[in-house]
Amino acid sequence: MCHVVSIKTELKDLRAVKEACRELGLTFVEGRKTYAWYGASVGDTALPEGITREQLGHCEHVIQVPGAGYEIGLVKNPKTGGFRLLFDYWGPGKKIVDTLGGQGVPKLIQAYGICKATIEAKARGYLVTRQPGKNGSVNLILTQV
């Protein structure tokens, strides 16, 4: 393979994924089954766990990062129903890493967590206030309306 990284955190709620993309200025392409990457395994790194060579490049949905030549694929984990993020971080994929804070795309994972928590809290009747926390974290203050 080229250099495809699989992100450990699974994203389970597409509503939160879409909202996180909107906040970060990324484009969520619902239902597109292929994502742009190098296109062939060059065998210099191990395949992501549970992913076969043939599965690379295939996904359920796509996230586009502005200015990046490659894309992020959302690959469904049949065991959990969640989505794993796969992308090629080499060459044209470097922009993905640079934009989202590293190979683990922490900015996207954090935004997903914030959006997911906000959705769930609002669904339970909480008023949600967002505040900056320590060490780059974000606090959501939930109060009963």
């Binding site: 804070g101 994972i109 954090q110 928590a117 769930e120 809290a121 339970r124």
Partner: protein
């Protein structure tokens, strides 16, 4: 005042803390949220846990 603070770390790790609840009212308040978030059920009990809720109406919407 009762509130719940959800902290999302820079790497996306989520911790949920109930503020101003006494006894297990805190767990009741956060349990539904934790389940929805898929957060592992590790809890650190704060001093409030060992106090008794003294007034009615502590049940939170689930």
């Amino acid at each position: 005042m009762k509130s719940i603070v959800v902290n999302v770390s820079e790497s996306g790790e989520i911790t949920i803390e109930a503020v101003g609840f006494k006894g297990n009212a805190c767990e009741k308040a956060t349990a539904a949220l934790e389940k929805a978030m898929g957060t592992p059920g590790t809890r650190k009990k704060k001093a409030e846990y060992y106090q008794t809720e003294t007034h009615a109406g502590t049940k939170q919407a689930t």
